[in-house]
Amino acid sequence: MKRVIRGLLVVGLAVFMVSGWAIAKEPIKIGMLADKTGGLAAYGYSHEKVLKAAVKKINEEGGIVGRPVRLYVEDTESKPSVGALKFRKLVETHGVDFVIDSNSSGIAIACAPVAKELKTPYFPSAGATEISGEKGNRYVFQPCTNVREECKGAASFAVKNIAKKWVTVVVNYAWGWSNEKEFKKYVEQKGGKVLKSIRVPLGTSDWLPYLRKIPREAEAVYFANFGSDFLSFIRDLYAVRPDIKKLGAVYVLSAQDPAKLGPAGEGLYCITSYPTRLEGLNTEYNRKYRSLIGVDPEGLEIGIGKRFVLAYDWAVWESMFLIKAAIERSGWRSRKDTSKVIEALEGMKFKESVEFPQGSGYIRAEDHLAIVDLYIEQIVGGKLKVAARIPAAKGAYPPIVDRTKESF
Amino acid sequence: MAILEVREITKNFGGLTALKDVCLSVQEGELRGIIGPNGAGKTTLFNVISGDLKPTGGKVYLQGEDITGLPPHKICKKGLGRTFQLTMVFPELTVYESIWVGINSRKEKPWDPFRSFEKDSDVSERAEELCRIVGLYEKRDELASNLSYGDQKALEIAMALSTDPAVLLLDEPTQGVSPKEAEGLIELIVELSKRMTIVLIEHSVDVVLRLCHKVTVLNEGRVIAEGSPEEISRNKEVQRIYLGT
């Protein structure tokens, strides 16, 4: 028995060593950092499914410049430290040429310097403004919208159509704080007023004590939380102020069924970069996109019937096609052409199509941020309806950095 | 002057009085026996002297110095060694290492990480000598937990000796040991008593009366008699306690 175990250890060590060598040449290799376990498991699940569909589509249509695409998926466990290690694994062991995803800003920020060091373009779908600001670099793109873009875009709708006197309620960590800061800044620019800013710890089950601090004269609340926090928030807010109007940041609804929120959720507004129901953006491209990723017009996963997290899925999908377009335009052949691909991506415009179902837009050259349209959704009769479409120009703020001046 | 002087020690546990005004004066070179029925407070007295318990009242002097209420490691440094009734060895250290650790505590800088464990020859010679004295030389590389109970008791004594004490407190060294092993231990104690001061708690009155120079009798936390073995065996009250019940 003991000998067997010793033997196994030796074999294990051997496998451990050898597995790194097998690097084939032909296909274009894409790495994916999916948050498959841990706090963001729900997002990891949907993002992986969407990216696999995108790769399948490309391969069925003959690949990129005739070369097949091979996808390598690694789990970040929703932890920045694991994410950074897996980023290295993707590049160093699997030899991937591009890395897509992770929904966590923390992971994206942890991986950004690794991306630069390993000279590998990285497309996280996380919303922190810093990713296209001081914490990014020339190898990092933000193919989704970010918090500043979202708040700036939504501000005038919030003041004109919802209310003037606001309260913000955010989860007590970086994503929540930047929502708090940006919303206040842009709403007050548009003539609104934020009366009070309330922060609530992540994972709080009981929001009543915090929500009780909402001043009586406040007319509406802007909130940034998701998943379990969102459910508690909505329920407890209804207990405290059933009358107050609500506007949620991107993400708040993720996989929740608005009908189940009952009267607590009725009338709630929510910023989003992609309408949950097909009705909100009923284009031929979107119908196709949804059928390819297996999601029905109501946002349910086909065959399973469960709610699918649609939030930034489109950005994961589009990242793949951004890469495809950039390779085709730049004549990228291998890693040594990476700088050409980045230059092609900087300022690249894309047109509404199956590849870009969210709509036309462009990657801003200076800060690598996707400038696209936004939506305001509202729960009406237990269903999400699009209340407004906000053109990309409204959300676009002056870039904070200029990456094109950075060296590779 | 007495080498160990206990003055009017009182120890209460909550409402219970374990020791009441106990006085004890041990001269240098003496082999003192302490006897008394179960619960008389013998071990409690040892615990107070060695610093395991703080007395409620009274004083303890060792070599003329007040050691009342000092923590055990400081009392040990002042020259007191003790053994325990239920053996307290280091299960995962060998006999040799257990003794070594004790000797080391008397060295300068016992913590110095750049001194080597194996190469310290004066420590290792002394450790081997102690192994021989207590008759564990052959078993010096055994783990303490693998020793027989009698051997563990011997190791207890060796460990107490390892800190080079001026006064040695032995708490029932032969309890729970086979008669043959007990005989060996008693011989050892007699041998040691020629070189140092020993205070011995024993359950077996015969042993104490046979070995000790002077005997103290405790009952219900008080000293009820003190004197030479002959005096004690003639003492009516002692007879009453031991025979009457």
Partner: protein, 300 residues
């Protein structure tokens, strides 16, 4: 073990990049695991507060690089000393406590540091963390860049080796025997003339300092530090490493680390829910030998 280091030295050249990065991370955590065992295995203090030192080490080096432009070697020294100081302060409070109370108070410290680090974003970057660009190291006129994977590997190997040798020195010296005697029977050790508090505190402080070193080296390999490093996870996981590999040794914890990372790196790619396997493995190993895998292999 030294043979193991020889192998690691040779492998540094031979290994492909992926496994080498894994080996680098593993070595950083081996320092952590050995340091933890100094406290847990040698003096039987089951601390749940080591994430504090780990985080202090990581931030120690990152903040010195960012705000003091200290250079890497000085930064590591700062981190090491910071870990020592924090461990001394924390230890002065905790070490006196017994068993469960010690465990929970150290866990409370870990939680307090985690909460504060999340809140003080101006210093720590909070949840999103702080990235850092590593300057070159100049040693005797030679400039080394940690961005060169080979240099980085040997840099970590040197620290791993040095930490191992130092800790081995400590555990094999009289001090180590005193630690063990305190672990085996604290009261008896006191009656042999050792102040248990002082020695346990010494073990705690040494352990904290080396944990901080591990944290700082880990932060250098990530080029990043985050409040997450203060999380309770990093306090619990070293216990798992030590018990899987074998407590009360320096090699055992390293085996535990290697095994854990092997699972995380390779098995997780085949099966996301590798933690199930890992949980079963923990139970099987504990069932076979309390002394971990090493204890089992040595046949006790």
């Amino acid at each position: 073990m030294l043979f193991g280091f020889f192998i690691l030295t040779v492998l540094g050249v031979l290994m492909p990049r992926g496994p080498r990065s894994l080996a680098m991370q593993t070595m950083a955590f081996c320092i952590f695991a050995m340091a933890y065992d100094l406290c847990f295995g040698y003096t039987n203090q089951c601390s749940l507060g080591h994430s504090v030192f780990f985080g202090v080490g990581a931030y120690g080096v990152v903040l010195s690089l960012l705000h003091l432009q200290s250079g890497i070697l000085l930064g590591l020294l700062i981190a090491f000393v910071a870990g020592m100081v924090v461990a001394f302060l924390m230890g002065s409070i905790c070490v006196r406590l017994t068993e469960a109370y010690f465990v929970i108070v150290t866990a409370l410290f870990s939680a307090i540091f985690h909460l504060l680090s999340l809140d003080m974003t101006w210093l720590t970057g909070g949840d999103d963390g702080l990235s850092v660009t590593l300057p070159d190291i100049s040693v005797g006129g030679v400039r080394l860049s940690l961005y060169d994977p080979m240099t980085n590997y040997y840099f970590i190997l040197v620290f791993f080796l040095a930490s191992y040798l130092l800790m081995r020195r400590i555990t094999e010296a009289p001090l180590g025997k005193v630690f063990i005697s305190i672990r085996e029977n604290e009261k008896r050790a006191a009656f042999l003339g050792y102040d248990p508090f002082r020695y346990k505190l010494a073990a705690f402080v040494l352990s904290g300092a080396f944990t901080a070193l591990a944290g700082s080296i880990y932060a250098l390999t990530l080029r990043y530090a985050t409040a997450d490093l203060f999380g309770l996870y990093w306090s619990i996981i070293p216990i798992v490493w030590c018990l899987i590999g074998g407590v009360g040794t320096l090699v055992g914890p390293c085996i535990g680390v290697a095994l854990m990372f092997f699972f995380q790196y390779y098995v997780s790619a085949w099966w996301t829910h590798y933690l199930i396997l890992f949980g079963v493995l923990i139970l099987v190993i504990l069932r076979t030998s309390r002394k971990g895998l090493l204890g089992y292999l040595l046949g006790r």
